[in-house]
């Protein structure tokens, strides 16, 4: 089910009301049922896949904990990993592998490969990348002895399938959720209204901001890159950067808000990432649960360092200047995998490598580290552009388009305001230049307004009416813009 739909609004209101009306002992079962209903609104048959995946990990987790021999523990861990990664690989990467095989075959003169056809089509199950990582983390955590295995399958299923995080995260550890699910919860009106506010904020980010920025981004990316100027490419990048931020952080806000409405606390998944002054800070603020997962289950094991146990903190650890140079390979491999996790295409691999290289550069180049310490505004401006340029391969339809756009921003002779914009072309919406300038300014203003509010520097006589007006405006704009049409970008991963 899409969050940005009236269906979800109804589902959430009824679901939350029923959850609190039911006795405590029925709530786990109810959350499982509601989550299955939520998923079945997309395709009911794929519920079985989620349940199968969860059942394997529940079984493996129990046996890992029970096993006395290390080999047996490893065997069950391996079973869990093979099942999860096998499913992910099959559903997500089969076509990609086949395409590449054909290309390699064509280069090697193996013409027979060109006609290879699977004979069936594969539908990517919604959220598979997310719930797979979640269940893998459970098995590994049990193996590492970080958590005890869950003894009731409904409880484990509620952890895996809990609807707010099922299809696009946050990717949570069992240690963060299960205890909350088990604990008796009482209705807290402040928490309920706080959750509802987050849902409204998330809907606003998605349906009002992201969905209205999207058509402008499409216009720029549909154009032949040779017709763009360097400034056009930056405009396109800034617009897409804000589109994906509003889209995904909007999703996360709705997820966290929905969880809060049934009394569960999820950690933040985004924390003003575009206010970062270095890649280290950026990866502590962007898609925190994924980068924390990658940190604990991929990067740190590759470097032989101590893992952490919570889905907070992100990949900041990988960017520390004191890292050994021998960790560079681990870093690049980690980011390559991070890129391919986002999508089965070489453009995503390039996106991952780009960020790996940026982290490496900041680690190696002392002037960049000094810039962060001595001139924070400049460091912020630089990092903002580095982050926005990074979206080129993420959004580009092909490697060729991505490279052509990179070439434009690296070539100073292409820097001029496009004639299409000075003429206020209807087609190209000259407004996109304006939007590309307004969005970062709006973000900075919102950041400092939020900071002042958090520090208690806004008098209540101003704060409360302002909150009412802003919320009313947001609800009004949501009413105008709400259409169950635009999918969240991260649903495709």
């Amino acid at each position: 089910m899409l969050f940005n739909s009236w269906g979800y609004v109804l589902f959430l209101l009824v679901g939350v009301a029923l959850h609190w009306a039911l006795p405590q002992r029925w709530r786990i079962g109810f959350l499982c049922f509601a989550s299955m209903l939520f998923y079945a609104m997309w395709r009911w048959e794929f519920c079985l896949l989620v349940i199968f995946s969860a059942a394997v990990d529940f079984f493996c987790g129990k046996h890992i904990a029970r096993a006395t021999h290390k080999r047996r523990r490893r065997a069950f861990l391996l079973l869990s990993l093979v099942t999860n990664l096998g499913l992910l690989g099959f559903f997500k990467y089969t076509y990609f592998a086949l395409d590449n095989l054909k290309k390699v075959g064509a280069l090697a003169g193996l013409t027979g490969l060109a006609d290879v056809d699977l004979g069936f089509s594969i539908i990517l199950p919604l959220g598979i990348s997310f719930y797979t990582f979640q269940t893998i983390s459970y098995s590994i955590d049990v193996y590492r002895g970080v958590i005890r295995p869950i003894d009731r399958f409904p409880l484990f299923l509620a952890y895996v399938m809990f609807w707010p995080q099922l299809v696009a995260g946050p990717i949570l550890r069992a240690g963060e959720v299960v205890e909350q699910l088990e604990r008796p919860r009482t209705l807290d009106w402040r928490r309920l209204s706080g959750g509802l506010s987050l849902v409204v904020l998330g809907l606003f980010k998605k349906v009002v901001l992201a969905d209205n920025i999207a058509p402008m981004v499409e216009l720029w990316y549909e154009m032949d890159p040779n017709l763009l100027t360097g400034i056009d490419v930056w405009v396109a990048n800034f617009l897409f950067g804000f589109q994906i931020y509003c889209d995904f952080s909007g999703y996360s806000d709705i997820a966290i808000g929905s969880a809060a409405m049934v009394g569960l606390t999820f950690p933040d998944n985004f924390n003003w990432p575009y206010m970062s002054r270095s890649p280290r800070e950026f990866w502590r603020r962007w898609h925190i649960s994924l980068s924390s997962w990658i940190r604990d289950y991929l990067y740190l094991p590759l470097t032989g360092r101590e893992f952490q146990t919570r889905s907070t903190g992100g990949m900041g650890v990988a960017s520390q200047p004191d890292q050994q140079q021998s960790h560079a390979k681990a870093l690049l491999l980690t980011w390559l995998i991070m890129g391919l996790w986002h999508g089965a295409a070489w453009t995503f691999a390039l996106w991952g490598l780009y960020h790996g290289l940026v982290v490496l550069l900041y680690r190696v180049l002392k002037p960049l580290q000094k810039l962060v310490e001595r001139a924070p505004p400049l460091a912020w401006l630089l990092m903002l552009h580095v982050a926005m340029a990074g979206w080129i391969p993420f959004r580009a339809a092909s490697l060729r388009q991505a490279l052509a756009m990179f070439a434009k921003i690296l070539n100073p002779t292409t820097y001029r305001i496009s004639g299409m914009v000075t003429g206020m072309s209807l087609r190209l919406a000259g407004y996109s230049y304006l939007w590309a300038a307004l969005l970062p300014l709006g973000m900075v203003a919102a950041y400092f307004a939020r900071k002042r509010t958090a520090e208690g520097r806004v008098p209540p006589a101003v704060l409360h009416p302002a909150k009412i007006v802003v919320t009313a405006l947001m609800v009004c704009l949501i009413l105008i813009s709400m259409q169950a049409r635009k999918q969240f970008i991260y649903f495709q991963f």
């Binding site: 079945a40 609104m41 003429g423 105008i480």
Partner: protein
């Protein structure tokens, strides 16, 4: 909710279809002459069928067909009066009065560049609408329009299937644009396509929307509210920008103009091989502006070069820039003088001028 209710009341009569053409300027989507349809502004199957019927009946009556292609100037009328007709109707009337065996039909689209006009020509040709004459309005401003919009890519796809072999760089550009459009569509498909299509949620959303519209009539107007707000916002931005900087002189980037002229070359090439005679004309432009909309020197140079290009290819070329007097032009949504759209009187002048050119050319 109260604010939404008020907005819905304010914008209930707002018609998004009529925006963008300028203040008090109306798009005429279905023009008829002698009861027969003579214009199209989109390739919706019903309208195409009607136009095909017109062509078939006119051919049966031994009439030659003149297909007239151009931008929104051809279908927009400023300060429309009940008796106002499009230029294509006036051209037909004049042709009939002089007993010319000629029937005019028209396809126009807002901001259509030459690649899109080429797509339209190929599409109509594939639908049996191959004309005897091709008349094309050359709007300098549209030479800065990049790419090919999805609906035209669709038309081009159909049209190219009926083309025996690709002719000219413009056709190759078109093929590339179609491929890019398909690739982009495939890439963004998971995001762009309806996310609830063919899912149980689709039925749920339909039912909820129906219920909401039933119990709250203002909700029914959400499309109009959205469009109205967008237009208001856009106009406010442009008006503010003009206030600060003055209206900019609109440049046509050289690379875009050259790219679009490749499509014009292909259009002429395909028409020549089809045995179709061609008339190009410099589209009317509002005279007497204090500051010309484009760079006047660049603008004039372009049309001199275009005239030479036409001479080389034995294509008729005419200059109709000043045939509509200044008092018959409208204003834009931001209150600026509109240099593209004129009143019914202007349409009469254009229709008569084109038919008179055809009379001479014939």
């Amino acid at each position: 909710v109260l604010a939404f209710q008020l907005l819905a009341q304010r914008f209930a009569d707002f018609d998004p279809q009529q925006t963008g053409l300028g203040e008090n300027t109306t798009s005429v989507e279905d023009a008829r002459f002698d009861g027969r349809r003579v214009n199209l502004i989109s390739a919706d199957p019903g309208s195409v069928r009607e136009l095909t019927e017109t062509v078939r009946s006119q051919r049966a009556a031994q009439q030659r067909i003149a297909l007239w292609l151009g931008a929104s100037q051809l279908h927009a009328i400023n300060d429309i009066q009940p008796s106002d007709r499009l230029a294509v109707v006036h051209a037909n009337e004049r042709g009939t009065r002089r007993n010319a065996p000629l029937a005019y039909v028209q396809f126009s689209a807002a901001n259509a560049n030459f690649h899109e006009l080429l797509a339209v020509y190929l599409f109509l040709r594939s639908r049996g609408l191959s004309p005897d004459w091709l008349i094309a309005a050359v709007t300098y401003d549209d030479l800065r329009e990049p790419g090919v919009r999805a609906e035209f890519a669709e038309m081009a796809r159909a049209g190219l299937q009926a083309l025996e072999r690709p002719r000219g760089t413009g056709v190759h550009n078109l093929i590339r644009e179609i491929e890019t459009a398909a690739q982009t569509a495939a890439t963004k498909d998971p995001v762009a396509r309806s996310a609830v299509a063919d899912t149980p949620q689709e039925a749920l959303e339909r039912a909820l929307n129906r219920t909401l519209e039933g119990v709250w009539p203002a909700y029914r107007e959400r499309g109009a509210v959205r469009a109205g707000l967008e237009v208001l916002w856009a106009n406010a931005v442009v008006a503010a920008a003009f206030k600060v900087r003055g209206r900019p002189v609109v440049h046509v980037p050289e690379e875009l103009a050259s790219w679009n002229l490749e499509a014009l070359d292909s259009l002429l090439e395909v028409a020549r091989e089809d045995g179709v005679r061609v008339l190009l004309y410099r589209a009317p432009h509002r005279p007497g502006e204090a500051r010309f909309y484009h760079d006047r020197a660049e603008y004039d140079r372009f049309f001199v070069r275009l005239g030479e290009r036409c001479d080389e290819r034995s294509v008729s070329f005419a200059d109709l820039e000043t045939i509509v007097p200044a008092e018959h032009w409208g204003v834009t949504n931001t209150g600026q003088p509109d240099v593209f759209h004129f009143s019914g009187v202007g349409h009469q002048a254009l229709g008569s001028a084109v038919d008179s050119l055809m009379e001479k050319a014939d």
